[in-house]
Subunit: 131 residues, 6 copies
């Protein structure tokens, strides 16, 4: 259970409702995720977070699917179960294949492993990796 109630449309204020409407319009769905309903208690934080997601996850130098996979990678390392679920769903909606998911998992696991080794050995950065 969330530490705040998830706000239904009729419980949200006008400012939060405007964000909900924007979410529905841009995502072409009636569904507003629990994450946004929990944030709706602070309409300013809800708005700032949603606007930032729109700005950062839009197509640019990186493909939107690549961005979702990077999101899954960070969410896994940070142990955020909600985020792993929501961004795996988002990545699939953007076309992630089972083979791509499998390779993503393999890279995440490999990185976790060598991160641990480099830290446990306190390996100094090679001169050629610094500017």
């Amino acid at each position: 259970m969330a530490v705040v109630p998830l706000l239904a449309d009729q419980e949200a204020g006008a400012e939060a409702l405007a964000v909900f409407d924007d979410i529905r319009a841009r995502r072409r769905t009636d569904h507003v995720n629990n994450f946004w309903r929990a944030l709706a208690h602070d309409p300013a934080l809800l708005r700032a977070t949603w606007d930032r997601v729109q700005a950062v996850m839009a197509p640019g130098a990186l493909d939107p699917l690549v961005k979702e996979m990077i999101y899954i990678a960070v969410s896994t390392a940070n142990g955020c179960d909600y985020c792993v679920h929501s961004h795996t769903a988002a990545a699939r909606a953007k076309g992630m294949s089972p083979a791509q998911h499998a390779e993503l998992l393999s890279v995440i696991a490999l990185a976790a492993q060598t991160n641990a080794l480099a830290t446990a050995l306190s390996v100094p950065v090679d001169d050629r990796f610094t500017l």
Copy 2:
């Protein structure tokens, strides 16, 4: 300083040296990173890690550059400074542009932020995100 000495070629055993040679041949460079020189104290771990890196980072359903960016994302979330440096260098060597690097950083920062919010609010996973 590392918690073990970094082994120079002449200090490494035959098994470790064979991995060093493999690194040089596959990467077409004379340079063997500090990471591998620190691991060389345990030739079996060195071999297993290097072989796993080769298997996972090879081209497949995901582009090698995408894999390096996922690696940077995990290494950042895990706070591994060595890994951030070595994989940023590797991503650049594979063609990561400054614009791509900038977008990668923006996604990593956004994910860290919403991970924290979802955790601090303990948002329950939406039914539609589960199978």
Copy 3:
């Protein structure tokens, strides 16, 4: 489910029961949290932990509510769902308003974001920040 049974009063030994009694007396409640019931398998650890909580969380140079908010911040960054719940409840019991909670969440999210950026860029500490 916990990895150890939560000990009811009648299952706890005399040493653990004495801590339970102390918890009830100081908190003016009949309720003993699951955390303490799980720790009761090791009465020495239960005692040491409870005594440390009393010593650290008491009023001092920092207000008890501020201490609870710091606790929530650490628990979020460490991904401890139990601790987020219990210390958010404790902060509310000590008077945390919804507006304070909202600002706390905003600071936690901002810090997570800039932590990630500083780490991904490996920014060197400014001379003026060192002694």
Copy 4:
């Protein structure tokens, strides 16, 4: 060393320079931290991050000093050495006394300890902590 060069004023573009000027004006100092100089490679990210810091860290329902202490707590749990240094300096500039710093450290250490215990025991959240 940073994974990107720290941009001096004469190397920064007009957009980044405008943020540097804003930092100098609001903080009443000539010094622009390394963090901002590293971010200056992506003026949009620099601007978004600086604006967010201004919005979140301003006085509100929480005191600015309390916000800095929360920032230190998150930065510690995330292992961000740069952030620990810069926000400890900021907290001192906002009046944090040695006694307050000492209590902050005690709370952070206690939270890290009980976070680990709750996780290692997988303690279920008490019903009364959920809504």
Copy 5:
């Protein structure tokens, strides 16, 4: 719920089934954990992970029970609830006593606490700890 279906024997391909059989034979049980059933979507990752577990967790310079306790320690610090449960069960199956479990928890909690203090104070490594 997992982000992929857990594969029952009749849903797993021949390659995954061969690993399931190996798990049953070596562990002398009919039970194949959810972890392996989730990994079975990528038979190559399943095989590589299972083989690595066999190689690393076998008796050697460290006792298998000690290895399981180290596993619990890492899993706790990484906040992996599944892993805490599965490796606590494994440690008990290898003879971990309640007293050993209690001491393990005390060391984990102490380390988390002093890790936080050393990080929040950015304590420089003593010369005598480097080579």
Copy 6:
């Protein structure tokens, strides 16, 4: 550099000096680690931490060397470079062989890897692992 000065003997107060003396006496050395010199600004925290270390790391149901290796495991997962160095030195002083160190590293790396996989897949805990 530490965020507080490391206190030399002549700068430390009587309470902190008493702990330094205790450290020297119990460890049979003249050297007092930087960690304790940084903590000496808060003699109460210094005393509480040192006393806890003595209580927890003493021989008991687990061997002192095993405890040091568990400490290294937690410190690695938490990314505490100081702690990795100091506890690797302590483990060696208590007899950790290179072969034991190598196996410790292998278990830490394996755990980090499977932790990431279990989290990225959100594997549900098997019924048989719960009580």
